[in-house]
């Protein structure tokens, strides 16, 4: 690692913006600038679409003359815990008291550009890299102290932010004193090597959460909890369906509601009121007529439409030749798997507060992408970039849903139009309506096995749900995977916007692959674990399967064996996972109760086992939803699910006994932990239901109705 003093004139920042002189902005001190992601080869997998991170420097550490250390990052805190782990790591590494460390997160004025926060990355990777940066910064500070004190650096020690001579402790200088009168920018080249991770093992001690006390006392401020003098609440007129066009409108009813101001900009109409409930009262008094020009499609016809569409096709991977695969196979299996649109449904809806001073707009938003929102406001409202500031308070869950930031643009627009601070809190219905859903899709698989139960053929076709996680993972000689996606000249297939949902696409692909594997194992009369092991060469996958079998106490059996035990495995974000579940199926009602889930995970060096376990449990619990109940019902552009009564998410009574094993890989770099386990749950439960009853589930979620229908076919 080396440190370089950088001539600012040579630097242009990300997104084409000329890099500001940050020290000027912060008013002095010593500023360390670095990129915690440099040197981490996390994004090599072709399936990591949309996950490219800025290659630019994107974190700052500032030492002020009073000794305060502030860490600035464009990342945000939404439950993954970086607001806790970072200050502790910083304090440890820099040798300063914890109360001297401040975090500034997701503020576009103060923090360097960051593409967005994705759960898997932050805790596992960001932390250790920041730690390496802090260590580096300490070395630089010690160097500076050495010059100042005229004592060789190796004779200096640091304690509580004070550098002193080991031989003569009265020869000393504090970080704060070093920073006094300085305006110094130092760019750190932080490239933690694989071996370096072992020195982070001390982070494996459980960390006390920094945000915990605030969150259990109600003091933690989310966007909706902020208040500004003169603030008004907004409600916005919404179309009854996607694609509906406003034809005529009469707002006089709304104007009659006391204290209401109606704001209009083209088809964008909102009511403002200091009283939140009056705003809600007013909005329903607006009479609006619409014309409709919707796609003739609903949640039932969608799948045939996808398969029959004029699509753009691309072969994502191929090896061997399918003809040979057919010849070498003794039995061929053809299946079609379906996955509907799924909502993110964080408990905190999209919320934003905006204020405009006539020159600059400031938006406090529940968002995973503060810089994306800033760009969005620039684009849509035509303000210059430096006149838009986005600040991110605590975020009440994201899961990819808060990569979309429409509510922030709405609040900004209303603040500018009304010249008042405006709070936009989406209702639950708006949240369902405007979600960027997990994309629906169809997977068609044709596969074949020989007499020994070895897979010879794998012809895999993805319709509209995306390719992440579509690797075969098994050792198959003849493979082709084809992805069918939107043909720009053809009719639109997804009737509304879709986007990343925890482990994008991989849930669908793992459901299809691991179900198909089970179908073949069952037909061949081979225990599903044995069948997998027989067809795997991937050592990590094999290890994970063995570890989870051990944890579960698995005993082999052909399926369906009436036990209700299912297996699934796969990988995501360079993390390998395997799970075994036990379910009970009520054959009269179709209700599936998951009794136990054991899960193993190989995520390289596990930096924070406590955090990783939390994430695994979270994944398994959340996964129960997409597997058992979650499904957007729609007719044309109308979203029928308006609240949690028709869109059921996991509850306490659904949660199984969860047992997790994290494989110890101290020699491997840490990989993502926020998402992997969730990919397994669909196939895991489908396979367990099959083992319990002989019924095969081809469409998620496995609602009571679908289970009953499948039971009829047994």
């Amino acid at each position: 690692m080396k440190n370089t003093n950088i001539d600012n004139s040579k630097n242009t920042g990300s997104a084409g913006i000329k890099r500001r002189s940050f020290v000027k902005l912060f008013g002095g001190g010593i500023l360390f600038i670095f990129n915690p992601f440099a040197g981490l080869d996390l994004f090599s997998s072709p399936a990591e679409q949309g996950r490219t991170l800025t290659k630019d420097y994107n974190a700052f550490l500032r030492i002020a003359s009073d000794g305060t250390v502030t860490c600035y990052t464009g990342k945000i805190e939404m439950g993954q815990g970086i607001i806790t782990s970072l200050p502790q790591m910083m304090a440890d590494e820099l040798d300063v008291p914890l109360n001297k460390i401040k975090m500034v997160m997701g503020d576009t004025d103060l923090c360097p550009y960051d593409a967005g926060t994705w759960g898997s990355l932050s805790t596992q990777v960001f932390g250790p890299a920041m730690r390496a940066a802090a260590a580096e910064a300490k070395a630089v500070l010690t160097e500076m102290a050495s010059t100042r004190l005229k004592v060789p650096a190796d004779r200096l020690q640091v304690k509580d932010g004070v550098v002193s001579d080991i031989k003569n402790p009265s020869v000393r200088v504090s970080y704060g004193q070093l920073a006094q009168g300085r305006k110094l920018e130092k760019y750190l080249d932080v490239k933690p090597q694989v071996e370096d991770y072992t020195k982070f093992v001390y982070t494996t001690k459980p960390l006390k959460r920094h945000d915990a006390v605030e969150k259990v006392t109600g003091k933690a401020k989310y966007a909706g909890d902020l208040r500004l003098p003169g603030m008004v609440f907004a409600r916005i007129l919404r179309p009854p369906s996607h694609g509906a066009k406003l034809e005529s409108v009469d707002v006089s009813g709304a104007e009659q509601v006391k204290g209401t101001q109606v704001v209009r900009d083209g088809d964008f109409i909102a009511v403002l009121n200091e009283n939140q409930e009056r705003a809600s009262e007013a909005i329903v008094k607006i009479k609006a007529e619409y014309s409709f020009n919707e796609l003739k499609v609903n949640d039932k016809t969608l799948f045939d439409r996808m398969v029959g569409a004029d699509s753009r096709s691309s072969v994502v991977r191929t090896s061997g030749d399918l003809e040979a695969g057919f010849r070498e196979s003794d039995r061929i299996f053809e299946s079609e798997f379906r996955d509907p649109y799924v909502a993110h449904a964080p408990i905190e809806t999209h919320t934003a507060l905006a204020s405009y001073d006539g020159d600059k707009v400031t938006v406090w938003a529940a968002t995973q992408t503060p810089f994306g929102l800033q760009d969005g406001i620039v684009r849509e409202l035509g303000l210059p970039l430096e006149k838009v500031r986005v600040i991110t308070p605590y975020v009440g869950g994201g899961f990819g849903g808060k990569n979309a930031f429409q509510q922030g643009i709405e609040a900004a627009k209303l603040a500018i139009l009304s010249r008042k601070p405006v709070m936009v809190v989406w209702t639950r219905e708006e949240e369902f309506f405007y979600d960027n859903f997990h994309p629906a899709g169809v997977i068609r698989v044709r596969s074949g096995i020989d007499k020994n139960g070895l897979i010879k053929l794998w012809d895999y076709n993805i319709y509209y749900s995306g390719t992440r996680g579509s690797e075969t993972i098994y050792d198959v000689p003849h493979v082709r995977a084809t992805s069918y996606s939107q043909n720009m000249n053809a009719v639109q297939i997804h009737p509304f916007s879709t986007g990343p949902w925890r482990a994008p696409n991989n849930n669908t692909n793992t459901f299809a692959r691991e179900s198909q594997i089970d179908i073949m194992a069952s037909a061949a009369g081979i225990d599903p674990l044995e069948f997998r092991l027989r067809n795997l060469k991937d050592e990590k996958m094999i290890e994970c399967l063995k570890a989870v079998a051990d944890k579960f106490g698995y005993t082999p059996s052909k399926t369906p064996g009436g036990r209700g035990i299912g297996i699934a495995c796969g990988h995501d974000a360079n993390t390998w996972v395997a799970a075994i579940a036990e379910v009970r199926v009520d054959k009269s009602t179709g209700r599936v109760q998951v009794l136990r889930v054991a899960c193993s995970q190989d995520m390289g060096l596990c930096v924070n086992p406590q955090g990783a376990l939390l994430q695994m449990e979270g994944c398994i619990t959340m996964g129960l939803g997409y597997a058992l109940t979650e499904e957007i019902q729609f007719e044309g552009g109308v979203i029928k699910n308006k609240n949690f009564d028709t869109y059921e998410i996991p509850r306490f009574s659904w949660v199984p006994k969860i047992e997790c094993v994290i494989l110890d890989r101290k020699d491997k770099p840490p990989t993502g932990g926020g998402e992997p386990a969730i990919i397994l749950i669909g196939a895991l439960l489908a396979n367990a239901i099959h083992d319990a009853t002989g019924a095969r589930m081809y469409q998620m979620p496995f609602t009571r109705k679908r289970v009953l229908e499948a039971l009829k076919k047994v």
């Binding site: 006390k208 959460r209 109600g218 408990i347 905190e348 975020v395 306490f652």
Partner: protein
Amino acid sequence: MEEKIGFYLNGKKTEILTDPSQTLLSVLRNQLGLTGTKFGCGTGFCGACTVLIDNEPVRSCTVPVSDASGKRVITIEGLSKNGKLHPLQQAFVDHDAFQCGYCTPGMIMTALGLLLKNPSPTREQIIEGLDENLCRCGAHVRIIDAVLEAGTKMRGGK
């Protein structure tokens, strides 16, 4: 339309001038500045807005503020005493019983209502008692453990 309404809020006698048909949630958050109580669905389905009225867990998004008139209302802000966390709060911290924390105030208030009625609930009773409270982050297992532990502590008089 405005009326004077009085109740005991977190132990303190409180009187406000308000439209009595407004929800208790709005009044707490927007008029009384207690934003610890959260909005999640507005229709009683998620439990994020739960407070206690006379020790009964109530979804404050569904009741008019007039329902609280003359009663004792406890919100998440009223639990810690002199900076010391309530055993439930402490147990949530100790068990990492949340991720984003947005459902947490409602979970704690619902659990408190449960423990006040049944000081030594079984695991099953806790599950039943919290089943109408939603957590999207999947912190369920930890929440159950936290409530079990808090129950034990509260019985110990700590």
